[in-house]
Symmetry: C2
Subunit: 481 residues, 2 copies
């Protein structure tokens, strides 16, 4: 503090003056004014509503806290029974909806989650979902194959095409579950697509927990899921373009637009992003973060406008986003992990709201459809790639371990079937059936692996080591899929 020389005397006296000017005087002014205007207190008492009711904002915040707590509780319970966390989080979302909570306590559910609040929560879910899909896109393009290319490609195509074929075959018998007005071809292909999905992030998490992410089987399963899912998303995009039932000319225009957008994103835009992220202009990294969100949401809106689903656009940005630059990678992992932890539970909640598992008449046909689709999903994913792996020289045991790993469908499957439901392809009953297929195939992965002698506890030191590996392939930041 700069002080004037010889000002010590003054200094001792001045605090009181300063207190008077800065404290007592203004307080006196406030007190006099308050006394002047406070004569009519009783008048004010009639004004506003009761203080114990929550307004929309308050309800929204309460619902936010509840949904996040329930999701985390579900995740912890799932880990406790040696299941991927996402299985518990999805179940928590279903439990908060009409399937359980709304059935047991409909009044409480209406009070906690009124219609006006559901819209606010939906905003969080939508943002979380496009950021999740951005993360899926990053993972698909981030895979690098080391050695055994022919074998890996053969296994990848089998892991996608075999369940796809079984799904389309089954779908012919399930045409009753298509929504009105949708073309049978779109429906049949969609069901095939739904069975062919593997959840890359859940798979990476399981491999890390088992300590086998660095083994040939681990690497192969990750590669196969990335290639297979890439193919499934392409087919899904084609189905959506067709399912909207435009004229052939409209379809052609939309298809060409989609092609042009894809080429632009993977060519010039990708090069621009790489170049831009190298310049180092963005000192605090916030511009990169905002650019990412703007690109993801803007592209999502763009693809939605040409008849593809918005999530395809978000996926495309993930594929195009630079991988080599530290700032770009940090921004992406920052947003994807925040979205996975804090925003995706609202998607599970919204999903649970649309799905009343109990209200569906679970008659013999539905149960048969569930049993059939579940069997085909498991057989297609386990036998198809397993057989091909065996035929290309892998011993039986790792070959079928691979198949079991590729059977985890997780969250990615949920996203796919919700897209199909929203696009008017599958009806509410098939949505419920495929939700159960997704949950059951994900939940059965760990127990089935135990049958092959693989248990999380059997390789604790490996697991710690290999979690670094998971970071390298870009999956360390999220355990969802």
């Amino acid at each position: 503090m700069t002080r004037l020389p010889g000002a010590d005397d003054e200094k001792k006296r001045r605090p009181w003056g300063a207190l008077a000017v800065g404290g007592v005087l203004p307080l006196a002014v406030i007190a006099v004014i308050a006394a002047t205007v406070s004569g009519d207190w009783s008048k004010g008492a009639t004004g506003k509503t009761s203080s114990h009711g929550l307004d929309t904002s308050g309800h929204f915040l309460l619902a936010t806290a509840l949904i996040l707590s329930a999701a985390r509780l579900g995740g912890v319970l799932a880990e406790w029974v040696r299941q991927p966390r996402v299985v518990g989080e999805i179940c928590a979302g279903l439990a908060l909806g009409p399937s359980l909570f709304g059935r047991l306590a409909p009044d409480a559910a209406d009070w906690l989650f009124p219609q006006s609040v559901q819209q606010l929560l939906n905003g969080l879910a939508q943002l979380g979902l496009v950021l999740f899909m951005f993360g899926v896109g990053r993972e698909l393009s981030g895979m690098r194959l080391r050695g055994a290319a022919t074998q890996a490609l053969l296994i990848s195509q089998a892991s996608m095409l075999v369940p796809f074929a079984l799904g389309t075959a089954a779908a012919v018998l399930l045409l009753d579950y298509a929504q009105d007005g949708v073309h049978s071809l779109a429906f049949v292909l969609f069901v095939g697509c739904a069975l062919s999905i593997t959840a890359f992030p859940v798979l990476a998490r399981i491999l890390t927990d088992l300590g086998i992410i660095r083994t040939p089987v681990g690497r192969l399963s990750l590669f196969a899921s990335a290639v297979g899912d890439g193919g499934s998303w392409l087919i899904l995009a084609a189905i959506l373009a067709g399912a909207r039932g435009s004229s052939p000319v409209g379809l052609l225009v939309n298809g060409l637009a989609a092609l042009a957008i894809t080429l632009f994103y993977l060519g010039p835009l990708r090069r621009f992003l790489v170049k831009w992220s190298m310049t180092g202009k963005d000192k605090d990294g916030t511009t990169t973060m905002v650019l990412l969100v703007v690109l993801v949401t803007g592209t999502a809106a763009l693809t939605a406008s040409i008849g593809l689903h918005q999530l395809i656009g978000a996926l495309l940005v993930g594929v195009a986003w630079p991988k080599g630059n530290r700032k770009a990678v940090v921004a992406a992992e920052h947003l994807v992990s925040t979205a996975a932890s804090v925003l995706l539970p609202f998607f599970f909640f919204g999903f649970g709201l649309t799905l009343d598992l109990g209200a569906l008449q679970w008659g013999v046909p539905s149960l048969l459809a569930l049993a059939g689709l579940l069997t085909l999903a498991v057989v297609g994913k386990v036998i198809g790639p397993g057989l091909v792996a065996r035929m290309t020289g892998m011993p039986w045991r790792p070959a079928f371990t691979l198949g079991v790993l590729l059977n985890a469908r997780g969250l990615t499957e949920l996203v796919v079937i919700q897209i199909g439901y929203q696009a008017g392809i599958i009806d509410r009953r098939l949505l419920a059936i495929l939700t159960l297929v997704a949950l059951i195939t994900t939940a059965m992965t760990s127990p089935m692996l135990s049958l092959f002698g693989l248990k999380p506890d059997s390789a604790p030191s490996d697991a710690a080591e290999s979690s670094e590996e998971a970071e390298l392939v870009g999956t360390g930041s999220t355990e969802r899929g």
Copy 2:
């Protein structure tokens, strides 16, 4: 890859078998099924709506991309004219609302931001706002004073009480701008409160840019703004409790509840959080992040239910959140910086939607009120603390530099006046007037400092050094206030 010995011959032949099983066969199945069901393509064409219309999700994503782009553009333009970024972002929010965009192109505004989409965007704004307030709470409690305690406290109280007193005095003449049914005392105190706010984060940013954050004036201004704003929020809480017009008994119950909550959060809960964050149970940090969001939203709902504003609860969690543990600090900065960059622009947008600056009849009374409040706001913040600083031994020039610094109100002021508007204290006209006061006082800080010989370019090396210091006091992650 484990291979059986002598299996080389087989290996060369088998790929074709594998290709047949995993690729050709399933493709053939899919092709046959597709051909079977695709006879009735024309039927499907009548089903769904046109492919070029965006549904609500598409509109939401488009609006998200637009709002974030506009905010970033505003921020860049503001920095270009040597203003804090937040001034540009607020202006961008106002420009997208009925004040500018809605006036120039009402049809385009309706199409881009339909009512259904505004609700979705509002969810993002609400979450951003509570996380911002959490950050404000952290900063208030993170201040440590080094030396000159008496002087610092005297300046702090003057920086809060002098503009407060001037605001209450002016408010007596402005009772016409109170909402119907609100008590005059609440209104008068609220206007005082609104003038007494300083924006801590904007202040820290300006100090860093000027390279004076380590000087006595820099430290003193930060301390004074933290203490002063703490006091202002306490008074605001009391006003809100009273303004809702409950019965005296209800007020007493709510007041006791607020006291109990505060004591619980700053005592047992704070100790629990510190202890919990030390255990290291949360390996990937996501549990800490979810815990933070649940605490912030849950507490916000709790304080809203006892008649205080939800943002007071979010502030309280910020004060109670542990500061010493790395994981807790990382989670907090992660979320606060994401909220500041990606979510707060939606608050500015929502704020801009409620405020039509042009539709207010800017007659002589409104302009007089604006001029008067603006003058009192500046005089109170500059003269009050400046005089007290001078009286406690500081030379004239740094004393008034301090006053000018404390005059930046920024985003914090916007939050306060929106609370007052929502709580039914001030009307729409005074909301507009105080918004302009907030913008003008923030924007005038840099030019006024130039008058005192302080320019960002005059100390470039200092500025680089002192940005570390800004991190130390916990303000490096956000430049908003």
